[in-house]
Symmetry: C2
Subunit: 271 residues, 2 copies
């Protein structure tokens, strides 16, 4: 299991904050696996320093670097910028198996059992449940798969403009082939599902293992008052709804365990 890792991605300082909280939450729940974060060149030095404390490996990925094989693909499909960066996780061939997690996810329980699953395992997407959500997935790094993925996305593009469309197009038998590749929804519980089917959330939500803050508004889009423990946001209704307890969990972890690390690097500068 030393050849297994959790992998995330942050191309800017906002998503880097998400990656910090995610990394911290994985450590807090005592994962025995390595932690890897792919960072884009826009992530600031102080953020990279904090990430280095939380992650075993901080790997710079730059698809605009013409030495990269994704560069050519990127020139043909400039719309798929971050997507090509995410696909880079397949190049981590010094690991035999990995779990990719979006930087806007939060682990609320140990999830090392995910490494028993095979490529490509993922949870269904609420909304169009024959698609898997690409915020959490089990995969096996391989340059051959990476090359085929780049070729696929260059040729077919992405039906939703992002990595989820590409990955569902490529791993197109997910919905029909093998039930063991369907991760339980509690491994990728989108906050969106709480509103759409509240009774199911009340029935099954207590078993949540990973919360995914998918959609426009991210935890870091809000502000937080540590004294009153109040999260405030622009979309007041959004926040008011019942997933605010998970949002509070995110902010509690961020302010208690991540902010002090950032302060150590930024000093008195705002961040």
């Amino acid at each position: 299991s030393s050849y297994q890792a959790f992998v995330t991605l942050a191309t800017n300082d906002n998503y880097a904050k998400g990656a910090m909280v995610l990394g911290r939450s994985l450590r807090n729940h005592h994962t025995t696996r390595k932690l890897v974060v792919l960072v884009g060149p826009q992530v600031s030095d102080p953020c990279q320093s904090v990430l280095k404390k939380l992650y075993d490996e901080v790997r710079l990925v730059d698809v605009l670097d013409s030495g990269d094989t994704a560069h050519l693909a990127m020139m043909k499909r400039p719309d798929l910028g971050v997507t090509f960066t995410k696909l880079h996780c397949w190049t981590l061939t010094h690991y035999s198996k990995c779990v990719f997690m979006d930087a806007d996810t939060l682990v609320v329980s140990n999830i090392d059992e995910l490494f028993e699953r095979e490529e490509l395992s993922a949870a269904p997407d609420p909304g169009w449940p024959d698609c898997f959500n690409s915020g959490v997935f089990v995969f096996c790094p391989s340059m051959a798969t990476y090359d085929r993925l780049l070729q696929y996305s260059t040729e077919h593009g992405s039906f939703d403009g992002g990595d989820q469309g590409v990955l569902n197009g490529f791993f197109s038998s997910w919905s029909t082939a093998d039930i063991s590749k369907h991760l339980p929804f509690i491994y990728n519980l989108s906050s969106i599902a709480i509103y759409t089917y509240l009774p199911a959330f009340k029935q099954y939500g207590a078993n949540a293992k990973v919360i995914h803050f998918l959609g426009q508004t991210k935890p870091w889009s809000h502000t937080f008052d540590p004294k009153t423990r109040q999260v405030r946001g622009e979309g007041a209704q959004d926040v008011a709804a019942s997933h605010s307890s998970f949002l509070l969990d995110w902010w509690t972890l961020y302010s208690a365990e991540v902010v002090p690390m950032l302060q150590g690097h930024y000093g008195d500068q705002p961040f």
Copy 2:
């Protein structure tokens, strides 16, 4: 296959209209299976007469009738009234296999291939996709199963107050046991999914086989002007959205093929 049937349920005249459209749409797509509708005692005589023309079998179910085994269960769980009525479909033991369809569904293509599936096959629910949606499901009538279902619902109730909660509790291995029991989402395409993940709908929606108008607002909650071919509703935004083309399909079928049958029975009375 003469022992196989599509089954729906209507406890009042509004849902009866839905059942008429559903029955018509199954016939229009040349099903070779029998059509059965369970009706409650509140369905008016003219509606029952129209249903008799469209369905091979119109069966009265009345869970308030103390001769019924559901009566006792019902006395203990009055909150589950319509749910117990829906469970009655398991008593149709003169068929070996059936497909239940909500009265708010519309068939847009022949779906007889569903009879190749086993009990309990259903499509995932958008919203909480580890639950199946109980608007379309394959089942095998059996008094033993019926009794166990009544007992289960009396003891455990329904986590969502309806049949979907009961059936997901009872057939609880659906999400983990057998991929062949996962019907493709296009066999139960909830209009809701169109908004939540429009790119997926654009990619896969053309293959839709069954549309499900789930939620508060039903096709019959709207009004329709056959001359301008405009659907109007209270929730103007709801209607404006992209599923209005399916809503138009429903109304086109209703006004062209069902209304004339109703007029034959109601004469000049409003209905």
